[in-house]
């Protein structure tokens, strides 16, 4: 490569980030080199601090810097219900709705047979541990409605139901603000199945 070794290494490291190809890595590297030293130091320090201080909550497995995490420590949360999500970002999405007041469990992935990811790679054992004391009345499976998410939900339901805990799946169908005319057949079929009485 024509670049000095230090720049080449920076580009190579940036290239290892998800969604960053060689061209983007090159653009980011030159942006960093043009920035003031204190800006770059702040960025590097933030990355290091996050890596050193963030860990998985011992209860819900969400990312946190305190043990237990703020949601698990909140006495106002309903501990009889656990909402299971794929990733930490899904907790944020659900919290933004302001509709759910129970607790969470983050799996950190989904079963993806074609990628060789089986149930053993997820935090399913930790969830089953939480169900042992009998305080949980409902587990809501909120994995994505794609093949991997469905497989994960089906597999977990199979493990949870014998424990006598109510196991539910989030609804699927027409999105709010959507147009029936533009909905595909699979979504429409699901929406019809999940219809509810009005009024």
């Amino acid at each position: 490569m024509l670049y000095p070794k230090t720049i080449a290494r920076l580009i190579e490291e940036l290239c290892s980030l998800p969604g960053v190809g060689p061209k983007t890595a090159q653009r980011l590297a030159f942006h960093l080199l043009r920035e003031k030293p204190e800006r770059v130091e702040a960025l590097a320090a933030a990355m290091l601090e996050a890596k050193q201080r963030i860990f998985s909550c011992g209860v819900c497995q969400n990312l946190t810097d305190v043990e237990p995490c703020l949601l698990c420590a909140d006495p106002a949360r309903d501990r009889s219900s656990i909402l299971v999500v794929e990733e930490p970002k899904d907790v944020l999405a659900l919290e933004r709705t302001g509709e759910y007041r129970g607790s969470y469990h983050v799996l950190h992935g989904v079963i993806s047979p074609m990628d060789g990811i089986g149930p053993g790679a997820l935090r399913i054992g930790e969830l089953l541990e939480r169900l042992k004391d009998g305080g949980v009345k409902e587990v809501i499976l909120a994995t994505n409605p794609d093949v991997e998410g469905e497989a994960t939900a089906l597999y977990m339901a199979r493990l949870i139901r014998p424990l006598g805990v109510r196991t539910t799946r989030i609804a699927r169908g027409i999105p709010v603000g959507g147009d029936l005319d533009y909905a595909d057949e699979v979504t429409l079929a699901r929406a019809l199945e999940g219809r509810r009485e009005v009024g």
Binding site: G19, I111, P113, M114, D115, G116, G118, P119, D146, V147, E150, A151, L154, Y155, R158, P175, G177, G178, Y182, A183, D184, E185, V186, T187, A189
Partner: protein
């Protein structure tokens, strides 16, 4: 023409950027095609439901330099059972991984699409999934041109002797070995199958695909056929399919 119409079955997909996916499609007339589906990860996407894995769809695609682009898509058959029943989903994933692994891009194979579609119908609706799995693996090998030689010794060309209790099969050599060649190669990648399994395998590849469900081997013979077919798949693919561990896990747990 940059735009073309075809029918396809989504084998798998990968996330791309914020809301897109790359879908790997088995098409009726273009072979395996990789195409970008823009915005399919957004809740309101018009393409999302028709591009779920194992869905048979009618597609309008735009030819690109490296990747094509999905312009329109309409589901023909959704194969819901393959997404809502864990064992069937695992079996369909195995079949899709095999097809994806065996096929090069845009290398049309006229017989493969209807055979793959028939296989998905078998996996979705057959009351005995293990039985269906044997049949679809046989169908896939046949439509790819990988059907093992079962009539003559693949090493010396001799007819297989009648009346033998067991037959030696060599996945690497692509077929059966006569008594002499089999003894010489014993333990060197060979496997022995019963006469019953050998005869049922011959019938499997001699039967019209539409009448395959008439073939009903017993549990022991089916187990031998399964072992042979898997060994052949692994040899042809040059690796163990990633989906096999999960498939075995859910099949074991469902027993």
């Amino acid at each position: 023409m940059p735009l073309y119409r075809t029918e396809g079955i989504c084998l798998r997909s990968y996330e791309l950027k914020e809301a897109d996916r790359i879908v790997v499609l088995l098409t009726r007339d273009q072979g395996k095609v990789r195409a970008v589906a823009k915005g399919v990860r957004r809740p309101g996407s018009r393409l999302a439901g028709s591009l779920l894995p194992f869905t048979h769809s009618r597609l309008l695609l735009h030819r690109g330099r490296e990747l094509d682009k999905v312009v329109q898509c309409e589901a023909v058959f959704g194969f819901r059972a393959l997404r809502e029943e864990l064992e069937r989903m695992a079996a369909a994933s195995y079949l899709a991984e095999l097809a994806d692994g065996f096929l090069g891009e845009k290398d049309p194979n006229a017989g493969l699409f209807p055979s793959f579609l028939a296989s998905l119908h078998l996996l979705a609706g057959h009351p005995d999934l293990r039985h269906a799995l044997v049949l679809v693996q046989g169908l896939l090998l046949a439509s790819l041109g990988y059907r093992p030689e079962l009539d003559i010794c693949v090493h010396c060309g001799a007819d297989l002797e009648e009346g033998r209790e067991a037959v030696v099969y060599h996945p690497g050599e692509g077929g059966v070995l006569c008594g002499r060649c089999g003894s010489e190669r014993k333990g060197r990648g060979t496997m022995t199958i019963s006469r019953g399994a050998w005869q049922t395998l011959r019938r499997l590849w001699a039967t019209d695909p539409g009448r395959l469900t008439m073939l009903r081997p017993g549990k022991a013979v089916r187990g031998e056929m399964e072992t042979l077919l898997r060994a052949t798949m692994i040899h042809r693919l040059e690796r163990r399919p990633k989906t096999l561990d999960f498939l075995d896990l859910v099949l074991r747990e469902s027993e």
